[in-house]
């Protein structure tokens, strides 16, 4: 064999070993998800869901975002905050992932599957000690019903790695599906197709379908127009996918699906216009220039892809400046 052939075969070996390692890891990975980033245990969520969102709690808690903004109000997703309040769980320690599915109808709550490692005995004791929940057994699983709210919420301690939390009827439905070995969410082909396209490993992700997006505004005020005088109409979205990461900067990828390529182009133009307007504002606010250059808008057939990479310094600059603490000196006594 000539030297050059030897070099060629050595290079090919590196490539083949790399690809084989990749394929092997993909097959042998015990935690590989069932559909895209969605774990198999979460497929018991209802089939009529209009949106599904996932949240990698470990990554979130380890991110600079959490570190910076953990004290801010509304920082925690509702499902996580409620779970923590009712069960005494330590999300950063106990939770790996939360998947929420819901219909998006105003006034309704989604049902959540929390994955992690749980001490069911301690958890049950904590809930019972709280005294606000009534424990029952359903399909061999302990379910606690919190009855003090107007809408009854329940938590099911499924096993050491799975909890189901949400409205009582939906929790029991999910448990029934689990017992029957069904995966209702998987039958929602439209949502599953979008979930499948999501790259696993994102800190958070969300997919929504047409009916969820029907309530979005169909127009926005035109720049410079007086109230009610002019507006830009927005093409209707038929689907939405959001994925994001928080380390080492805030990265967002939003994919909006329009009816056709022309509608997607219109929508992309609107987004580009907004980005351009932000650039024009840069004379007054230099941080907006950074923000505008951090966003890219592309179209792909009937889809509009918006990706943003925002460094934390830019986020800090965009934060409203808090008034400095007033030094509390006692008022001089009146003479």
């Amino acid at each position: 064999m000539t030297r050059s052939r030897l070099v060629f075969f050595a290079a090919m070996t590196v490539v083949v070993v790399g690809v084989a390692a990749g394929v092997g890891a993909l097959w042998l990975n015990p935690a590989r998800a069932a559909v895209g980033p969605l774990a198999g245990a979460a497929l018991i969520l209802p089939a009529d869901a209009k949106y599904v969102m996932g949240f990698d709690v470990k990554r979130f808690a380890a991110s600079p975002f959490y570190e910076r903004f953990k004290a801010e109000r509304g920082m925690k997703p509702d499902a996580l905050a409620e779970l923590e309040e009712k069960t005494g769980l330590n999300p950063a320690r106990d939770l790996d992932q939360i998947v929420v599915a819901g219909t998006g109808v105003r006034g309704t709550t989604g049902v959540a599957v929390a994955l992690g490692s749980f001490d069911l005995y301690k958890l049950g004791r904590a809930i019972e000690t709280n005294g606000k929940a009534r424990g029952t057994s359903y399909e061999g699983v302990t379910v606690y019903h919190f009855s003090e709210e107007s809408k009854p919420l329940s938590i099911a301690l499924v096993d050491e790695s799975t909890l189901v939390f949400g409205p009582a009827d939906q929790v029991t439905q999910a448990l029934a599906s689990r017992t029957r070995g069904e995966a209702p969410l998987k039958t929602n082909a439209a949502l599953m197709a979008r979930v499948e396209a999501i790259r696993p490993g994102s800190t958070f992700w969300m997919v929504g379908d047409q009916s969820l997006l029907a309530s979005l505004p169909t127009s926005i005020p035109a720049p410079g127009a007086t109230a009610g005088a002019g507006s830009i109409s927005l093409p209707a979205l038929t689907g939405l996918t959001v994925t994001g990461d928080l380390d080492p900067q805030v990265s967002l990828a939003i994919t909006g699906e329009a009816r056709d390529a022309a509608a997607a182009k219109n929508l992309a133009d609107v987004v580009r216009g907004l980005v351009a307007m932000a650039s024009l504002q840069a004379a007054q606010k230099p941080e907006l220039q950074q923000l505008a250059s951090a966003v890219s808008v592309t179209t792909q057939e009937n889809r509009v892809l918006v990706s943003a990479r925002i460094p934390y310094e830019t986020l800090d600059a965009l934060q409203p400046h808090r008034p400095q603490a007033v030094q509390s000196t006692p008022a001089p006594a009146a003479r």
Binding site: R5, G18, V19, A21, Q249, S251, S296, L305, S307
Partner: protein, 268 residues
């Protein structure tokens, strides 16, 4: 007994030319320079890991850095440049070195000579580029802040495929320029850094560039300033694959046809 009045069979002849050309290509100053350029992301990746370990997380995540390397460094810049310097010289070097006569007087068809040389070009650039991509991927994706390796690994074969297609498509085009023009490097550079910028304008013009089709095959969309950031389009991937394969075959066929029919008069 071989009939010596007829040329060698295509495959045998092409293989002979491939062996001869590969030796000359792999161990050359050009390969040393191109090897350094193509493998530079590996050094960046190591530096990134060292910086992340010693000075804390750099502002760019490992996934973003890898995306930048694949979409901007390799596919947009360095691989087309490597194709330009290798493929334009497939025949031009033989003409310049006045050694083409030795090849043309052998019992080989011109088509087999070009095919052997083109295969050697693909093998050489493959040898330089793809292992660098594999190693860069593993160096970056095993960083603590990277997504799970198993999740990212599905992207690797696709990225390698697109890089290979970049080398083949640009190689075919520049191979054609090499047999068509006496000095093909300047027009090649004008194509790369002039014509290919059309990929960033709105409308149908990006479809007339190779880079717009190639970048549509990878999912990485690094945020860009200027026209690219404002009007970047992602073309349909299936169509892109078909277009790139078609133009590669068409350019190679055209190059073979021109090389087979052209009279080469070497300066004495």
């Amino acid at each position: 007994m071989r009939d010596t009045t007829r040329p060698l069979p295509f495959a045998t002849a092409a293989r002979g030319v491939f062996d001869l050309t590969l030796d000359g290509m792999v161990f050359s100053r050009r390969s040393l320079l191109m090897g350094l350029l193509v493998a530079a992301p590996m050094a960046f990746a190591v530096l990134y890991r060292v910086l992340a370990a010693t000075r804390g997380q750099p502002p760019l995540g490992p996934t973003d850095l890898y995306a930048l390397m694949v979409a901007v460094y390799w596919i947009r810049n360095v691989l087309p440049l490597a194709a330009l310097f290798y493929a334009t010289s497939l025949v031009a070097d033989e003409v310049e070195g006045k050694t083409l006569t030795y090849l043309l007087t052998r019992p080989l068809t011109r088509a087999s000579i070009f095919a052997g040389k083109f295969a050697a070009y693909v093998a050489t650039t493959f040898t330089l580029a793809l292992p660098a991509a594999v190693l860069t991927f593993f160096i970056l994706m095993t960083a603590p802040t990277a997504p799970p390796l198993a999740a990212a690994l599905a992207d690797l074969p696709r990225d390698l495929g697109v890089m290979l297609l970049t080398l083949v498509a640009y190689g075919a085009l520049f191979g054609l320029l090499g047999v068509l023009l006496k000095r093909p490097v300047i027009p090649g550079l004008v194509f790369l850094y002039g014509w290919e910028l059309l990929a960033n304008v709105p409308g149908y013009l990006p479809r007339f560039t190779l880079t717009a089709w190639l970048r549509s095959l990878v999912p990485y969309r690094p945020a860009e300033d200027g026209l690219a950031g404002l009007f970047q389009q992602v073309l349909p991937a299936g169509q892109g694959l078909a277009v790139l394969i078609f133009v590669s075959i068409a350019f190679v066929a055209a190059a073979v046809w021109i090389f087979s029919s052209r009279e080469y008069v070497l300066d004495q």
